[in-house]
Each structure stands twice: as structure tokens, then as C-alpha cells.
């Protein structure tokens, strides 16, 4: 009986502490002011008239529009495995794509590690190649369980990248594939794969410098 009372007392004390903390939390939230605005967004003079604000917003929208890529650009939605060709806000082409598998390869001696993600962000087309030859990197040999060759010529493999390749930096390309049935799945080592016809269409319209947005 005595133990039960002690336990009940302890329980009630804990509950009381919890309620005090809860009440304090509510008070703090309702009494505190807003957090600091971001640096660039200081309070505007209160005397500004709606017409002035409207004019300023129009200028800001125009400035934002000025940042839009000029001409045709490429969007790659890696989650939905889709590549879009866009001109301003108009979609002028769409293709099923494959991007990075997200898997990881560790060298047997543990010295090096590769993560096969397609990079995200803003890029631009840096190179365009017809009948590209793949210069196999070290991971390709490690993955196949083969020794890494010393001669550069032993790394070259023809026909695996399709008819065209568009490089968008750091060794990543938009290229073709032999495994067309895997298009739409994330199975690559980071490059973006397209079907033959779609690749041809992208190759035709994308020039060097064409912006690529990957998300």
C-alpha cells in the first residue's frame, strides 16, 4: 500500500512537471516575436504606396525572368525517369530516361569507393560526339572483377553508348543504351540513358552550352 502511494506521488509529480513544461512552451511560442528575416529581406518603409510596390514587383519579376535560360534547355526528372526538352515554359519534347542507380561499389582492398548517383543541379552541354567510344573507368573493371589495364587502348569499348553522347561535365553523359528494356529504371552509373530516337532528337536540338537541369 505504501509503495503504491509513493509510486502515485512520483507519477503525479512527473505529470505536474510535464504540464508546467507544456504550459511554458505554449507561453514562449505565443509571446515570442518572429524570427529574423533573411538578410536580403529587410522591412520595407511602411510609407510605400501600393502602386510603388506593384511597380517594384514587376521589375523583380522581370529580373527573375532575365535569369531564365535562353533558347532550348533540358530538364531531367530522375525520380520520374523523364527527360524534357523545353523552350521557355513550353515542353517541346519528352523522353523516357534512365539515371544513376544510387548503389555503391567499394574496391576489394577498401581503398576507393564509388556512389552511382546522377549529379543534381545546373549543368551545360560541354561536348557532343557521334559514335562515341567508352573509355572505361577503373570502377567498370572492378565491377566486372577484372584487372585494371595499364594501356589506355585496353579501356576503349565501342558501341555501348549508342550513336551519340552529350557530355555535361565531370565525365557524365547523356547517351544511348543496349539495354532498352531498362529505360525508365534507375540502373546507370550516373550517366543519363535515352532510347535511340529520343537521343537523336536531343542531339539535334541541343548545342554546346545548352543548359541542363537535373533534379
Amino acid at each position: 500500500m505504501k509503495h503504491q502511494r509513493v509510486f502515485l506521488k512520483a507519477l503525479l509529480s512527473l505529470l505536474a512537471i510535464f504540464l508546467v513544461v507544456e504550459a511554458t512552451g505554449f507561453c514562449l511560442v505565443f509571446r515570442s516575436g518572429p524570427q529574423d528575416e533573411t538578410d536580403a529581406v529587410k522591412e520595407k518603409p511602411k510609407s510605400e504606396r501600393p502602386d510603388g510596390l506593384k511597380a517594384r514587383n514587376t521589375i523583380l519579376k522581370a529580373s527573375l525572368g532575365g535569369l531564365h535560360p535562353r533558347g532550348i534547355y533540358i530538364l531531367i526528372d530522375t525520380g520520374r525517369s523523364t527527360l524534357f526538352l523545353r523552350d521557355r515554359n513550353r515542353v517541346i519534347g519528352q523522353a523516357v530516361a534512365s539515371s544513376g542507380s544510387g548503389s555503391m561499389l567499394v574496391e576489394p582492398n577498401g581503398m576507393r569507393k564509388w556512389v552511382f548517383d546522377t549529379p543534381r543541379g545546373e549543368f551545360k552541354i560541354e561536348s557532343k560526339t557521334r559514335n562515341p567510344v567508352w573509355r572505361k573507368p577503373d570502377w567498370a573493371f572492378i565491377e566486372e572483377g577484372k584487372p585494371i589495364p595499364t594501356a589506355a587502348a585496353d579501356r576503349l569499348e565501342e558501341g555501348v553508348l549508342g550513336d551519340y553522347a552529350l557530355g555535361f561535365g565531370a565525365g557524365y553523359f547523356i547517351h544511348g543504351t543496349l539495354y532498352t528494356r531498362l529505360l525508365g529504371k534507375n540502373v546507370t552509373h550516373g550517366c543519363v540513358r535515352l532510347g535511340d530516337e529520343d537521343l537523336k532528337a536531343v542531339y539535334r536540338v541541343a548545342d554546346i552550352g545548352t543548359k541542363v537541369y537535373i533534379y
Binding site: 511554458t24 514562449l28 518572429p34 510596390l53 542507380s101
Partner: protein, 205 residues
């Protein structure tokens, strides 16, 4: 009397319009600053219940917020960086086993796809802004199960506020409900280090 009513009504409308324009102005200024850099960023627009994924001012993806609530005092426009993404069932990277002799076409089962992404997770922006993402209940059982969220919200938020206040840090929490597909897309696309703008004019806890 009617004249007074018209004057009062027009005065209030003018103030409302001015406030709305001022908020839009702040949002545009912030976005313009972020859009200068070659990066993908997101705008969490609580006013219009939308999440925008953008780059250079170009809309890449738009997601609809089904419902939301805010705890804490957010300014109308707050820019931040995603510092952490956490989920109870976060997707794990598969490890490629070298020298298995497998053909590339056989390894597709080990890849990370959109469907592997969680629907229930937390995004933390710098400045201790925590965004909890929940899936929209789709059937009776999940609706009943989701009743725990408001209870959890009102029990834990005050405690977390006190905890952060002891460290003299601000704490703001936002809970958003998305369609399961949109929740997965947001987890997929919103990467650590990405900039975000939270736009929430007129939200009180």
C-alpha cells in the same frame, strides 16, 4: 453612414492589398538572390499550399500541399538551407558486389527508385526550422492511425520549444501533409545543402 462603411471597407482592402504586395515583394527579392546561383532550390508556399522546385526562376516541379500547420513564429519570408533529412525508414544504398559475373541487365533490383522513398520524414532547415512531412491518409485505417499526429504535435512541440529556449535558440516546426507520391518526390528531389524559401504570410501557431 453608407459612406463611412465604404470608406472603412476600401481602407481595409487597400491595407490588405499593400500587405500582400509587400510580402510578394519580399518573396521575389529573396528568390532573385537565390536564383542568381547555379542551383536548384525550393519554395514552400504555405499561403497557396504549394511546393515549387525551381532553378534560375524556372519552375521544374510543383507539388500540392493537402494540409499544414505551423508551430512557432515564422516570418513571412524565411530563406534557409536544408541541413538534415531524417526518416525512420530511410532508403539504404545497395552495395554492388564486384566479380559476381552478373550481367548489367540483371542488377536492376538493387537500385534506388522513387517508390523506395519514405512518405513520413522530417526536413530540418538551418535556424532550427523543422518540417515534418506526412502522407495523406488514403483509407479508414490510415485515417485513424493519422489521428496520432495532432496529439504528438501538441505534446512534443511545447517541450521542444522549451528545450531550444534553454539553449537560446529559436524553434519553428511546420507539418505538411502531401499525397504519398508527392511526399516521395519531395524526399527524392530535396537534397541536403539545397536552399529553400518558406513563404507563410499571416501564419500564427
Amino acid at each position: 453612414m453608407p459612406l463611412l462603411f465604404i470608406l472603412l471597407a476600401s481602407g481595409e482592402a487597400l491595407c490588405g492589398e499593400k500587405g500582400s504586395l509587400a510580402y510578394e515583394n519580399r518573396l521575389l527579392e529573396t528568390e532573385l538572390r537565390i536564383a542568381q546561383a547555379p542551383q536548384i532550390y525550393s519554395i514552400l508556399d504555405l499561403k497557396n499550399k504549394k511546393i515549387f522546385l525551381k532553378a534560375r526562376g524556372v519552375l521544374l516541379r510543383e507539388l500540392s500541399i493537402q494540409a499544414f500547420r505551423v508551430w512557432g513564429n515564422l516570418p513571412a519570408v524565411k530563406a534557409g538551407t536544408l541541413t538534415r533529412k531524417s526518416a525512420l525508414f530511410a532508403p539504404k544504398r545497395a552495395r554492388v558486389n564486384p566479380n559476381t559475373g552478373e550481367d548489367e541487365a540483371d542488377t536492376s533490383a538493387e537500385t534506388l527508385e522513387l517508390k523506395d522513398m519514405p512518405t513520413n520524414y522530417t526536413l530540418v532547415l538551418d535556424g532550427n526550422i523543422s518540417i515534418s512531412v506526412r502522407p495523406k491518409p488514403t483509407h479508414l485505417l490510415s485515417s485513424l492511425w493519422s489521428l496520432r499526429y495532432p496529439v504528438q504535435w501538441y505534446l512534443t512541440r511545447p517541450v521542444l520549444t522549451v528545450w531550444h529556449a534553454m539553449g537560446r535558440q529559436p524553434f519553428t516546426s511546420i507539418e505538411i501533409v502531401l499525397d504519398a507520391g508527392d511526399a516521395r518526390s519531395l524526399y527524392w528531389s530535396f537534397l541536403e545543402g539545397m536552399k529553400a524559401i518558406v513563404f507563410s504570410p499571416g501564419n500564427r501557431p
